[in-house]
């Protein structure tokens, strides 16, 4: 309690200010996680949860999609963008999920019940199938689940 007085009478007390190290730590932290967990826009959620697969066969469809991804993530570096998106597949009863590969390959691949997905994506499967979630963004080092309202959950 003695240092209470110190704070009052010595306003340059170190405790009141963050040192530069702490500040830079906070700043870099802000760029990494707060950004990645920000609420996704309604447009982004809409486009990726109700994907018209036909439109993707055209080059233009993919361009639009990629444009939306860049719009959503702003100036983020390429390596911090999702490598793909996993969501429920409505092609038919036997189909369960599909992957939207956002890397250079840019393909959409549908998976049937019990059909194994590439290991990076398999971990997103159960969550993508759950009705509470619109789709799942898969990154190289994490999985982010997106709810219908756009809120993002890191797993």
């Amino acid at each position: 309690m003695k240092n209470m007085g110190k704070i009052i009478f010595k306003t340059d007390d170190a405790q009141l200010k963050l040192n530069s190290d702490q500040r830079s730590q906070l700043q870099s932290g802000f760029r990494s996680e707060r950004d990645i967990l920000k609420k996704r826009s309604a447009k982004y959620v809409r486009i990726f949860s109700s994907l018209d697969t036909k439109s993707l066969t055209e080059v233009q469809g993919w361009n639009k999609l990629m444009q939306q991804v860049h719009e959503e993530f702003g100036t983020a570096e390429l390596k911090s963008l999702p490598i793909g998106i996993v969501s429920k597949c409505f092609l038919g009863e036997s189909y369960e999920v599909h992957i939207l590969d956002l890397s250079a390959a840019q393909i959409i691949k549908h998976f049937k019940l019990n059909e194994a997905m590439p290991s990076d994506y398999e971990k997103a499967r159960t969550l993508a199938l759950h009705n509470a979630y619109a789709f799942v963004e898969v990154y190289t080092d994490k999985v982010i689940v997106i709810r219908e309202d756009g809120s993002a959950i890191k797993i």
């Binding site: 003695k2 007085g5 704070i7 009052i8 906070l26 700043q27 967990l37 159960t126």
Partner: protein
């Protein structure tokens, strides 16, 4: 000849000598035998001694441990006494002043204590407790009561010098109590100006409590909210603070996972290969209802405004003047540790672990977010009422929801998509148990192939049939020469063939009956498993949907719900 005789005599000597050597060797041998017996006895004794030594070591180790504990206990008892004495010696008057402060407040209220008495007593404590902030604060209070401005100013300055925060808080509460709103607000502003959200003092929770429970003028609350908002903005900028709280909330949610009623799904427990996962997921989903109840009780209990503002104020003031001073804390901690050693019968390690667990209570300084988490987790330990707990939950709401979302998603990720059944060697998977027809068909084809496999194992008695045929054939040939013997041979051969074939058929029938019996039982089990699977998936889905209810409930919690002031003066914090 003579040579020959000498040679005989010599040989007998040699024989004798050899006999002696032989005798000696026998003696040595028998001695060795005796020695080996002795050695055996010794070895046995050594073994016994080793066992005894081990027992002794064990007893000795136990003795050392008990002795150490006893010594720890004795030491702790002595230390508690000494420490208490030291506390009494150093801070004895602190408790007296604490009692006096409450007394003066009540005495002034009832008007039965004269100004002179208050004056003389307060000045006396000033002399007795140098360094304790409450002493000059009481002098300031006494001089204020009798309108002695100059003494009041001096005492106030001294009190602030000794402990700015506590004095500020004391006068802030006091001025509010006697209805000096403006003065109270000034004190409150002073208090907030010098707070550091990264490093809050223990008593900040008291202010939060006071403002939340509405003991201040609404303007004070607005002021507090202004500061709280700016602190939150500062703290939630980075990942460090918020992630720490999220981590704690995640642990908090996990701690609510209930044990399972083990007999709910007996067949799945026995026949599902992935039962451990199934059980774990059940525990996951059953957490939702408990969490809903928990948060609901926090919200609903917060509407208890029955106690009057004055009582609340007195409680808070009482807390302020009766809580240990920071100067006393190191000693109080030592007392606590020694008390715990006594409670744990001298076991220092377990005492230390309890102490570590309690550490947060003694933690002198915390950041604002941690303070909110402490109040939200365990209001009693944090020294706040349920109302402040609600406020803490409402302010922490954004990261509680984040943590809850993560908790729910983690649980959902673990939900088994299929149930792996293994019944009597028949392995199958089902998603939701609705595919009974297909499963039964699969099981039937399994048993069909099982029966075929087992029937193949029953060998045809080729040798017996061949011998029987041979005897029969011989009999048939003999019939021509000796009719009776031939007929007999033919009969024996026939019976042999007939018997062995009959035996094979019987064995096959037995195999069939046994497998049919197994199939019948397994079918019942499969049906039961599928029925339980339906129930299981139903429970998972019903209980899982409750997670969304918890989320909705958390979403509805906003800071303005938990203020004693009217809704129109309340501000939406976040």
């Amino acid at each position: 000849m003579a040579d020959y005789a000498i040679s005989y005599a010599d040989l007998s000597n040699i024989y004798n000598a050899l006999s002696t050597v032989n005798g000696n060797i026998s003696t040595v041998n028998s001695n060795i035998g005796t020695l080996s017996d002795v050695q055996q006895v010794l070895a046995n004794k050594q073994e016994v001694m080793e066992i005894e030594l081990q027992n002794f070591m064990k007893v000795f180790a136990e003795f050392v441990e008990t002795d150490a504990k006893l010594k720890n206990l004795q030491l702790a008892e002595t230390r508690v006494g000494n420490l208490r004495q030291e506390l009494q010696l150093k801070f004895g008057y602190y408790s007296e002043i604490r009692r006096m402060a409450t007394g003066i407040l009540q005495g002034v209220d009832s008007g039965i204590v004269g100004n002179e008495t208050i004056k003389s007593t307060t000045e006396e404590v000033m002399l007795k407790a140098p360094g304790y902030w409450l002493a000059p604060a009481l002098v300031a209070l006494a001089s204020w009561i009798r309108d002695d401005k100059s003494t009041c100013d001096k005492a106030l300055t001294e009190s602030l010098k000794r402990d700015d925060y506590k004095s500020t808080l004391f006068f802030m509460l006091l001025t509010r109590r006697v209805g000096r709103n403006e003065a109270s607000l000034t004190w409150l502003e002073r208090y907030f100006t010098h707070q550091n959200p990264h490093d809050l003092d223990r008593e900040f929770i008291t202010v939060l409590e006071a403002v939340t429970t509405g003991v201040f003028h609404p303007a004070s609350r607005t002021l507090m909210m202004k500061y709280v908002k700016s602190w939150l903005n500062e703290l939630v900028q980075g990942d460090t603070f918020i992630n720490e709280q999220k981590k704690q909330w995640l642990k908090f949610f996990e701690a609510f996972r209930p044990p399972l009623h083990s007999d709910k799904y007996p067949l799945l427990k026995q026949y599902a290969k992935n039962w451990v996962t199934l059980e774990s997921s059940l525990r996951d989903v059953n957490t939702n209802e408990i969490l809903h109840g928990h948060f609901n009780s926090i919200i609903s209990s917060s509407y208890d405004f029955s106690s009057s503002t004055k009582v609340k104020l007195d409680e808070i003031l009482n807390q302020l003047v009766t809580n240990f001073d920071d100067e006393e804390l190191p000693l109080q901690k030592k007392v606590r540790l020694n008390q715990l050693i006594i409670e744990k019968d001298g076991d220092k390690d377990s005492a230390q672990s309890v102490m570590d667990a309690e550490e947060n209570i003694y933690k002198e300084k915390v950041d604002f977010l941690q303070m909110l988490t402490n109040a939200a987790f365990d209001p009693e330990s944090a020294g706040v009422t349920k109302l402040t707990q609600s406020l803490a939950v409402s302010i922490s709401q954004p990261w509680i929801i984040e943590a809850h979302d993560t908790f729910t998603a983690q649980c959902r990720k673990r939900y088994p998509q299929i149930i792996e059944l293994v019944i009597d060697g028949f392995a199958s998977t089902t998603k939701n148990g609705s595919d009974e027809k297909e499963q039964i068909l699969k099981q039937e084809s399994f048993y069909k192939s099982e029966i075929e496999k087992e029937l193949k194992k029953v060998e045809f008695p080729l040798s017996t049939v061949l011998i029987g045929s041979l005897i029969g054939l011989v009999g048939l040939v003999l019939i021509l020469t000796s009719f009776i013997i031939g007929l007999l041979g033919f009969g024996i051969g026939g019976v042999m063939i007939w018997n062995s074939i009959n035996n094979v058929n019987k064995k096959k029938e037995q195999v069939r009956i046994k497998l049919e019996e197994r199939k019948k039982k397994a079918k019942e089990v499969l049906r039961g498993c599928l029925a339980e699977t339906v129930d299981y998936q139903k429970e998972i889905s019903t209980e899982d949907s409750k997670a969304e209810k918890v989320r909705l409930l958390l979403k509805t919690i906003t800071p303005q719900d938990f203020s004693s002031v009217s809704q129109d003066t309340a501000r939406n914090l976040i």
